[in-house]
Symmetry: C2
Subunit: 266 residues, 2 copies
């Protein structure tokens, strides 16, 4: 591991590209290698044992490429598999759950905190546990919003359908007068506007940005932060469906440079 090694990022699919985007914005001099396990997406509906098995395979692919830090952009893996990853590999491993929870707790000001995510993330309860560990007095409520992922991938991010879906999922949070809402799924930043419309008095916490800030702190603390020079970015996927480019560039916010299909199941 040295300062010129890349940051490795993996996710179950395209969603983690919102985390990669936050890293590029915050750390423009860092090389990145991204792996999207598009052949096995989604993880949110799978059992914890299966999620951990997939996570170990993904991490091995990145670790073998000599990364200096591993970012688990997938909320499901961050909720269920970080101990297994930390045991299996020597590189520092950061998930998206704890940075998101810490940012939410810091902005709660005594009001209840809401968490939204996939059914897997919410059932695993990692955000709820993490928030309670940081601020035991916090009132935390969590809800799964399964339709948000397909809405984001379909590009239906404004208009009547996403507004109604957001209203249906989020109205209970309004009644609970939450002050802060954690977007506990990498896809959800694309729906931030309709979410904010449904909850006009709530501060939204984007786990992707909170994670990028934590990565910066971690690299600086280890003397591994690269502060100048051009950066190279590689994106790998385990399957390449026809729609990948269109969806991926919407999530990443810019064109894909190096893109390659790989097999990580061996």
């Amino acid at each position: 591991m040295d300062v010129d090694s890349a940051i490795g990022v993996f996710d179950s699919g395209v969603g983690g590209l919102t985390v990669l985007r936050a890293l590029h914005e915050r750390l423009p001099h860092e090389d990145t290698i991204y792996l999207g396990d598009t052949a096995r997406v989604p993880y949110g509906t799978r059992s914890p044992a299966t999620v951990t098995r997939y996570a170990l395979g993904n991490a091995r692919f990145l670790v073998e490429r000599g990364i200096k830090l591993l970012v688990v952009a997938c909320n499901t893996v961050s909720a269920e598999s970080l101990p297994a990853l930390r045991e299996a590999f020597d590189v520092p491993v950061l998930g998206v759950v704890e940075p998101g929870a810490r940012a939410a707790a810091a902005r709660a000001h005594g009001r209840p905190v809401g968490v939204i995510g996939t059914p897997g993330t919410i059932a695993a309860g990692a955000y709820q546990r993490s928030l309670k560990a940081i601020a035991p007095e916090l009132i935390v409520t969590a809800r799964a919003c399964p339709l948000f992922v397909p809405l984001a991938e379909e590009g239906w991010t404004d208009g009547e359908v996403p507004r109604l879906v957001a209203e249906k999922y989020l109205a209970p949070f309004r009644d609970e007068r939450i002050g802060t809402l954690v977007l506990g799924c990498t896809h959800y930043p694309l729906l931030a506007e309709v979410i904010q419309t449904a909850l006009p008095d709530t501060a939204l916490v984007d786990s992707a940005r909170a994670t990028a800030a934590t990565v910066e702190d971690e690299l600086r603390g280890r003397g591994l932060l690269r502060s100048s020079g051009a950066a190279a970015h590689e994106v790998y996927v385990t399957d390449l469906p026809a729609s990948f480019h269109r969806v991926a560039e919407r999530f990443l916010g810019r064109p894909l440079a190096h893109l390659e299909q790989v097999d990580v199941t061996v």
Copy 2:
């Protein structure tokens, strides 16, 4: 293969349970073995090579259990992988595409035919090709409806959201004055009411029922139809997420009897 062997059915997940349900209704004396590849669902967003690899593994699991006929309940596999399955195994293999296309052509009466399905099924074009092969003069238009699957799994099958989503996807078919619409995805029968509301003058063709009728013909033709006695039903899945029971029983229309998790990737 003898008359007392079971019918094997596989799908990428729970959706094929609508096909299993149609088989149970039409052929109440037949044993069935169902495999849902819930660890690798969905197939609709994957490349054809990946879909075929998964299909061969699923079929092998069922063939090793001595089935007399294999029903591919998955539209994506039916569209892309039947030749590979027929080459690899000796049992008769039926998909859902051709029965659905034949039923639609028979009811078209000269009006245009619409097809809806997942992006994978529509892009593969198997329904469109099958309809053209059966009735070359037919005008066929096809559209992907990616949100219908999560709506069906979420149980949002009536109310404003599914009505608006159906309206958004299906309005162009109304302008094209289609006479028949093929529900080219196993999940879509659960949304038949909102689909019918959006297209009140269109006859809906349910591929699941059309396939059950074709299975009956095929078994009778081979002298393999079982016409009396109680039937046993086994359901296998490759992963068992927390929501499986609830969703599966809504799709199957009755409680699950024998349910077991298996690994078919070896």
